[in-house]
Symmetry: D2
Subunit: 396 residues, 4 copies
């Protein structure tokens, strides 16, 4: 995080507004849900929506109100236990696979908790007593909640998309076709600077700005489409082990996969679940809900490869991106000179830097503040419930 | 099931009333729950309350309205798929461990489905066209729903009892102390008749009335109490493998058990979760929520044994019972001459006749119609979420 | 065990001979094996042959030489740890699934251990100092080793039968066709005496001789044949859930079973692995290597049932048996008045009296001393590596 | 692999000699084992020694004799099935976890197979007909067998080290203390060339020689010692989650780890199993048998980090290495321009390029031909049975 922060009144007011917007946005994402939809945890990766509602609130209480608002009394001592996620330093937590068993507190109580904390934060801010450090926490809390907004969308899609009745959520987060021909963007060999530079917010994993040498390469101007992916499927690729990582192949066999997540083959045609219900797959749209294994196998099939995260960042100003997180060929590792933040917040990124792959870009569910070319998203290679897509590259 | 049934008007009216009462009772059991409480399936054995609400309704639609109400149109074709339980003959079903993922249809829609089916059944009955066979199905459907009422109570207790906040459900289903001294009831050797005799409803597994020879024995006049069980615990019984079945001992180790389900040792005292919340264990009440393994080990510790189901039934008129299902030493097996009902309803009992143990009696959550001495309840020996207790016996 | 024992010299000499024969027989069973064949533990139920060789020897050292031979020094203190099986009272033991990892001590060392203990036991006996109690232990040790001889045969067959090369073991333990027509043996209703009576050796689970009342029934004069079982398979029985226990059906699905253990369908014909290698299934021989689930389903398919263990014992003098253990419809439970032996030997039978089914009869691998009509063999219902077959019965 | 190869007679003779030496060396590694020791597969990662003996032989038969020796007849058609490892393109294979069940063929038969193939290869070579391509395969086969020699040593240590009796294997593969003080080696920022250059054998994963830019750093002159690691343990590091990756922490908890593999705390002192038996841990020796998770946590504890594989390679000429594979901070990924070999041999490396971490250096069990600074060894981060150690680095 940047170490300096100027806070003239206008910047401060903007932040108050951003906080309010952020809180409202989370609640709007959940608005189409029934109370029952807030409860299930169908797989370990997916958290119940009510958990996201409460956890993003707990974060402000735990890290902002507790330390910085004098006389603040914890709303409900149980909640710290129930809605901690993975901050071992912040005390006991409910084991992740058990989140789906917590029917209590009900959604209504969680919304009361949200209102309470929102009010208290606004009161803290209006008091004029908030120190610089607190504003840093506020900013982090907003970004944290925005990350959970994106996860909320994934998780809601997973929960609804696994109802046998395929219910409709609504029109938000719609994917659009990229109206351009595919072309190669050629990049010269040389030293490129990588990592965040600027004085806005960024995460610790983007810092440690540094130089990398890139051999010459080219990168695709547009994402792989559903149409191309259907060809890949039709070619028998899901049963040709030569295209896959050994782990990817095992993963296919074990889970009996033969298409991206949410795809169903019915009456001679591919359908997929979208937030608008079950619809035929549109060949012109970018393919989404693929794992790293599928992205890699598709590239192998094409005789191409995925770009590294450095190649992606170096070229990012030359193509349009932002609809779909793009798998890169890079494992998620620390930049040279990476520093963890002290205390519980230091658990944010560093401890995940193993067995994960980097995605670059942004998705239709990403908050605008998170759309920057240095942003490093990361997931396990098998993850498919995220809004993930494929861009290809080639060494020259 | 009895093959003959007289149905003069009064009997018929009584049955209509019983049907209405039964439907209302199920809904009353769920009344204290939030919509969210209806969703989770914390373990495979426990079904979401909304599933019980819908499944017991589906049963009437599938087996009564479909075949017997002319022109009946299925309420929602999805529901047959969603709310079948284990009737393979009645079509595809949702795999049991996935029930907790179904947030849709919401409780409200299920209640509409309930009302609809209740009305349709009443209409069928009032038409005067219901044939004898249909009335048999009605009767079975009522008993089926009553069985689910009991499971509902167990499942609700499990769901609420595993919330970190131990919420209160209410005063129903309260256990009372047995106000009598313990004494032995002596039973002579001889031939006893076992199985249902009478012309009321009974299940197929109670039929095949037959003779058994019993060697002389005695059976306790009252159930084992919490006080006695606390002595058993205090003696170190949970770490003395000599008292346990080999499977029971493995089960203890694997699940790290040291007391009945819902018991917590806090500040030097035993508490347990009841439907009234977390309260100190009352030594005068019968112990409940023990597995067959614990019941057996307790008997071993006393130098006694559990009665067989035949010994229990032969002596049942000589002691008071009905608060708590009592583990017997008998495996759940067919009586000589046991006949499965034809069709899907034949799946009711016979296919479970392995790896299960018989419990006799009834519990505070049992419908009065199910309280008869020939009733054979059965569960896997490890089951603890049922309302189970212990009565002791001894060979003479 | 009988409480009285006369030991004139001739009986004593017979026992010494029996001991020698028993020790030699175990070694002959292993003679066709390579050292490598003694090592694997392919499933938890199957123990490595070298483990049987050592464990049956350890039993004599632990329970006979230790307590009764003055000045006896334990051969190797590690062995007590390595070769205990399930006697928790006799100290720490190697967890059962890890037996297949113990390449040390090699077979040669175990044979030395065997010779040593055999010699020491003979020395104890020749000293004339062996007390009655020691002779009881000797007798139990012989019977114990004989039980392990039978398990050895099962386990060797399993190990060799799962080599991709189907190696030949040899001619022993051959099954013969029953040369007779099938007929029904009718049994009258009445009180029958059940359990061991006599003054030879028997196990504690056969005692508690007692009376049972049997309703009239008939029992088959011969075992179900491979030919009949092939008809059952050909009828589609392995995919008709109506024939199976719910647990049996799950077991079929999970393990993708469609025939008895060791059967392979190749080039339009059924073959099975025997100790003579892979050969075509002979329709005239009794079917073997079926689970309780398959035995039950076969009986259902025939519209018949399995006999209870009491029905079997009551009728056993009227048909020939002894080639194949026969699944009964009885769960393995204590007889009235069952008493466990004191100390570690008390763990022998009682603690297994749950989740197991009784088999009656004997197999081609059973020692003659174990062939008696009161003998209660028992295994989990899913067991198929034992030499198990099917006899049918019917209520009248 | 290099595309050109000159083969004057002397080079050719050297290769024949290398082949003979390689075959003999494998057999010498197994010489101290009993036949029984060749059988177990205690964990999935560890293969039975007899499998290595046969698989390294099968490789020559499958890829060299079959295609290049005219009229060659496969020794035993079963063996191709039994001893394939992970070459999906070369046909069906025995699933890896089942290798430990194959007692047949016995070691003796495998040694006959080895002799046969060795002779046939020598005959092919002596015929003067071996084409360049065949010599490439021969070379690859030798390197392949040398890799298995190293795995053999790991696997033998694992098998013997998990016998409750801790048997002695012998003096080979002994670790020596590094007789020097620790110092930092400073490396300037700049562009470094990475990957194999030369005309000897190398693996495909070392090719794609390319440039990387390194920021300034320093790297330790010697490996972390047992003494330092005991301090790390004594500090409570195994229970401080702040030091660990999230996955590493889960791995610790799940496996209850508190020291490197083979370490046992007894009577107030650390012992560990070595190929010379169980001995006290020598503080002056390099620590070995640590996972990537432990290597990372140790570096965190020191406030330092692991070097990347590029930093390691760039500095490798300035420190002594070769006793112990060194975990780097780099995930195992393809170099730019990486090309898989065509056909089955293309499965060698590429398909493992995910979820693995790179180790650089060599171990006491590594063949001298594999000790080169460009060699990329790789294992899953949790692996501990390999000969792995820790070297530290720091950004400047």
């Amino acid at each position: 995080m940047p170490t300096e922060l100027s806070q003239p009144e206008t910047i401060f007011q903007a932040m108050v507004q951003k906080f309010k917007d952020c809180r409202r946005q989370t609640e709007q994402i959940c608005a189409p849900l029934t109370p029952e939809d807030h409860v299930p945890q169908p797989i370990v990766d997916v958290s119940p929506p009510k958990w996201h509602l409460a956890h993003s609130t707990w974060f402000f209480e735990q890290f902002l109100l507790g330390p910085y608002k004098s006389g603040y009394k914890v709303y409900n001592t149980d909640f710290a236990y129930l809605f901690n996620s993975y901050y071992n330093n912040a005390g006991e937590r409910v084991l992740r696979p058990n989140r789906g068993l917590m029917s209590r507190p009900p959604v209504k109580e969680i919304m009361d908790f949200r209102s309470h904390v929102t009010e208290e934060v606004l009161e803290l801010l209006s008091s004029g007593n908030a120190v610089t450090e607190a504003l840093e926490i506020l900013k982090l809390g907003i970004h944290h909640e925005q990350q959970h907004q994106e996860l909320l969308v994934y998780d809601i899609k997973y929960i609804l998309g696994h109802q046998p009745t395929f219910p409709v959520y609504g029109d938000s987060f719609v994917l659009k076709a990229e109206n351009q021909e595919f072309s190669w963007i050629r990049m010269e060999e040389g030293i490129y600077e990588i990592g965040y530079s600027g004085d806005e917010f960024c995460y610790d994993n983007e810092l440690g700005r540094h130089r990398v040498f890139l051999e010459p390469y080219q990168i695709g101007s547009k994402l792989v489409t559903n149409g191309e992916f259907m060809e890949f499927i039709a070619s028998g690729a899901y049963s040709d082990f030569n295209l896959w990582h050994a782990d990817g192949w095992d993963y296919l066999q074990k889970n009996k996969l033969e298409a991206p997540l949410y795809w169903h083959y019915t009456k001679g045609e591919w359908y997929h679940y979208t937030l608008n219900g079950l619809v035929p797959v549109d060949p012109s749209l970018p393919v989404q809900h693929v794992s790293m294994y599928e992205a890699y196998a598709f590239a192998e099939w094409k005789g191409l490869r995925l770009p590294t995260e450095f190649e992606w960042e170096a070229a990012a100003d030359r193509f349009s991106w932002g609809q779909l997180w793009e798998w890169t060929g890079s494992a998620y590792l620390p930049y040279p000179g990476f520093q963890k933040a002290p205390g519980a917040l230091g658990e944010y990124n560093g401890k995940f830097m193993i067995n994960q792959h980097v995605l670059r870009g942004a998705s239709a569910a990403t908050a605008p503040e998170h759309s920057r070319k240095s942003y490093r998203n990361f997931f396990a290679p098998a993850s498919r419930w995220i809004f993930s897509g494929i861009r290809l590259a080639q060494s020259l």
